[in-house]
């Protein structure tokens, strides 16, 4: 089985937010919740850089480790998913997550927190693949249909890559060789404890 990863080639990201929009639409993500966002560092200054970020589906995922009810599981494709039926909305996964991926719709006690929602790598949740319940809780399950995450598919500059970690690393390496520069795979060291040497 493949080890699925995301890779944002920061030298190509133009902050068009197509990935963000694609994700919101595909999964009917509620108001105020963003499973993916584009962060711009040094906005408007020389040396500006934009990176699209969502859940990285970490190796030995910190969110899963700290969850008090142990509601996370890792699929055979190494995608980190969770069960909204088990989640109690404590917010701990957000404190542990290095990438700010977990989100909480405001429906819990005192309007503070509901069940956690995050990027599923377009792979749904514990319910039957493609079922109505799965769609309502987690959004579309494109992986089960043999498709890759829509954010990467929609990326206008093909900055955002999704797929088997080895294949997208290879694509990135070839790009860097061809154009002669690359700022590295952002977040990989933190998420996967490895980088792409180029």
């Amino acid at each position: 089985m493949a080890r699925m990863k995301f890779l944002c080639d920061a030298d190509r990201c133009i902050e068009c937010n197509a990935c963000v929009t694609a994700c919101k639409n595909e999964h009917e993500v509620p108001w105020g919740i963003n499973r993916r966002r584009v962060v711009t560092i040094n906005d408007g200054k020389p040396g500006e850089r934009s990176i699209s970020m969502a859940c990285m589906h970490c190796t030995d995922a910190p969110c899963a480790a700290v969850c008090p009810v142990n509601c996370f599981y890792t699929t055979a494709d190494a995608v980190v998913l969770h069960s909204k039926d088990l989640c109690i909305g404590c917010g701990y996964c957000f404190y542990a997550c290095p990438f700010g991926a977990p989100q909480y719709p405001k429906v819990g006690n005192f309007g503070s927190r509901g069940k956690m929602d995050k990027c599923t790598y377009c792979a749904g949740g514990p319910e039957a693949d493609g079922s109505k319940e799965e769609y309502e809780k987690y959004g579309a399950n494109r992986l089960a249909e043999g498709k890759l995450p829509l954010c990467a598919e929609m990326c206008s500059t093909k900055s955002l890559l999704a797929g088997d970690g080895e294949i997208i690393a290879q694509i990135y390496k070839e790009r860097v060789m061809k154009r002669g520069y690359g700022s590295g795979a952002w977040g990989w060291k933190t998420a996967y404890r490895e980088t792409i040497e180029s």
């Binding site: 963003n34 962060v39 560092i41 542990a96 700010g100 927190r113 002669g180």
Partner: protein, 333 residues
């Protein structure tokens, strides 16, 4: 002729230009247009965090990367469990050993049969309201800390989540009466809980816990003052950090939330350990003590042995009988 030569030169020039045009982009390809842009490793080395601007309303999501979540994970999953385990189990073990070797602190003079009011109805109400909230808060809180390794394997995922959800509701809602209780305790008993010289003498004599010593004390002895300040300061800290956790990200960022959890959980487990000792002394640890918070009245002999100076004060104010019908012999007291 000259025009032909000029045409040749022109054609040559155009050809050279064309050549130049194809060559220049080839070398320009090696120029990095984002060479001056920030690099991930350099940003992480500077701040251990990468932050930027986002165009969505959720400004928290401007934190791109915070690897220190890993350190927080280590605290929550390992360090805290050690601190909590050692504090709570250590306290229980200590008390068991103490109880088995020294046993209950008895009333040496036995019961006199006469009582004196120690806590009025309002004081007892506040005490029990705070105490019952504390017990529920402690159990529901410790469930977050230890439930996953200890309880989940026994009852399974569904039951554990169901229970944890209710425990969380209880933890959130009971925080309010608990906080009110701590504030009332602070105001109600501050008068008797200012540390004084008497407490030093009391502490030097080990509080009279071992042997038959009875160091003098006013309404609250050194140990009780310690419990009072643990409740006031510990309660204040868990309340402040707890509300920060309950209403997340109001005026703080991710590092503030991690800090709130660290303060809340460490103070909470130490608080639980201290309260176990308090519960022990108030029940099976000392004869005649529970009545103070039960009926509100203690035996006069209990007051003499444990709070002699307070008893003298009370006697001076109201007389020894405190409005109760007494047998005639009691006048000798």
């Amino acid at each position: 002729m000259t025009s032909f030569g000029r045409s040749i030169r022109l054609a040559l020039g155009a050809w050279a230009l064309l050549l130049l045009m194809t060559v220049v982009p080839a070398s320009a390809q090696q120029v990095n247009p984002t060479a001056s842009a920030v690099k991930e490793q350099q940003l992480l080395q500077e701040l251990n965090r990468i932050q930027g601007r986002v165009s969505i309303p959720d400004q928290r999501s401007g934190v791109l990367e915070q690897p220190q979540g890993r350190e927080w994970r280590e605290f929550r999953n390992v360090t805290l469990r050690w601190i909590g385990g050692i504090a709570i189990l250590g306290m229980i073990a200590g008390i068991v050993i103490f109880y088995l070797t020294v046993g209950m602190v008895r009333l040496e003079a036995g019961r006199s049969g006469r009582t004196i009011v120690r806590f009025n109805g309002f004081e007892r109400f506040v005490h029990w309201m705070t105490a019952s909230c504390f017990i529920v808060l402690a159990i529901s809180g410790l469930n977050i800390t230890f439930g996953r390794p200890l309880l989940l394997p026994l009852i399974g995922f569904e039951a554990f989540s169901e229970w944890s959800q209710w425990a969380k509701y209880a933890h959130n809602y009971l925080s309010f009466p608990f906080t009110i209780g701590v504030v009332l305790i602070f105001l109600m008993w501050i008068g008797g809980n200012i540390p004084s010289k008497v407490d030093i003498e009391w502490a030097k004599r080990g509080g009279g816990l071992i042997g038959h010593d009875h160091p003098p004390a006013y309404r609250f002895n050194g140990g009780q003052k310690m419990i009072y300040w643990i409740v006031v300061i510990g309660g204040g800290l868990v309340a402040a950090s707890g509300y920060a956790l309950m209403f997340p990200f109001y005026g703080t960022g991710i590092e503030g939330m991690q800090m709130a959890q660290i303060v809340h959980s460490i103070v909470a487990v130490l608080f639980v350990a201290a309260m176990i000792a308090h519960i022990y002394i108030g029940t099976i640890g000392m004869e005649g003590a529970f009545e103070a918070m039960g009926s509100g009245e203690v035996d006069v002999n209990w007051a003499r042995e444990h709070h002699s100076l307070w008893l003298d004060e009370q006697k001076a104010r109201t007389g020894p009988n405190d409005g109760q019908p007494q047998p005639a012999t009691a006048a000798a007291e």
